[in-house]
Symmetry: C2
């Protein structure tokens, strides 16, 4: 696989309800998490839902961070996708601390693609062991 980026998929819970329903604190936490991760913010959208819940998407020069909160469950979902420079783990540590999550499930996904098959037999075999869904 040619890895292009690293994606942290985060489900975190046992966070304070009021914190997860406060768009300004979430905005601040996200901006500071971007800095903590050494990333560059291009655009930020923070939206509060009625009666509760906040969604925030940060478009980065390095890819993105997305955050969705469900205050009624003390739960938030975060995605931190970084390519190139920056450290998504640092950004995540800042974010989970700022949002006071006591529990989290974190999955690290390498993102990228399978280069074309070559005449190299070993490479071809490796690819065949993990078939790739073909669209169209």
């Amino acid at each position: 696989m040619k890895q292009i980026g690293t994606h942290l998929v985060v489900d975190a819970w046992e966070s304070p309800t009021d914190l997860l329903n406060d768009p300004e604190r979430i905005r601040g936490a996200l901006v500071d998490a971007v800095s903590a991760g050494g990333a560059t913010l291009i655009d930020l959208c923070v939206h509060q839902f009625s009666p509760h819940g906040v969604t925030a998407t940060a478009t980065l020069a390095e890819s993105h961070i997305a955050l969705h909160t469900w205050p009624e469950y003390g739960y938030f979902a975060a995605d931190l996708f970084f390519c190139g420079k920056g450290n998504p783990q640092e950004a995540l540590e800042f974010l989970t601390n700022a949002l006071q999550a006591k529990k989290a499930k974190i999955t690290e996904l390498p993102r990228g693609f399978e280069p074309e098959m070559t005449s190299d037999v070993t490479s071809r075999y490796d690819i065949e062991k993990e078939p790739i869904p073909v669209l169209q």
Copy 2:
């Protein structure tokens, strides 16, 4: 697990270089993919990098779609996170067709959290079988 949403993690390649470097066509494909998925667009950011590459983040009432392209590899990464109404598979099918990807690896992740342990012994055992990292 209490499932809150469904997240499609998509790595797709063998797309035309010029298409992946065209912010207006990507904007159009994303807006139409949101409609195809029956979702509601709150905000859209499309950014073109120099010398090539486009990032687009769509903030949805249902969560988000993020798209990052690397035209030099014919590769794009897409994330479609939907909660509540809407159909992320429909949105994805539209997007991969619009961007003419010939190959794709798609992973479907349920997003949500583990409810607190109860006095029920079976539930407790289930949770202990899959330990959850504890932060702080």
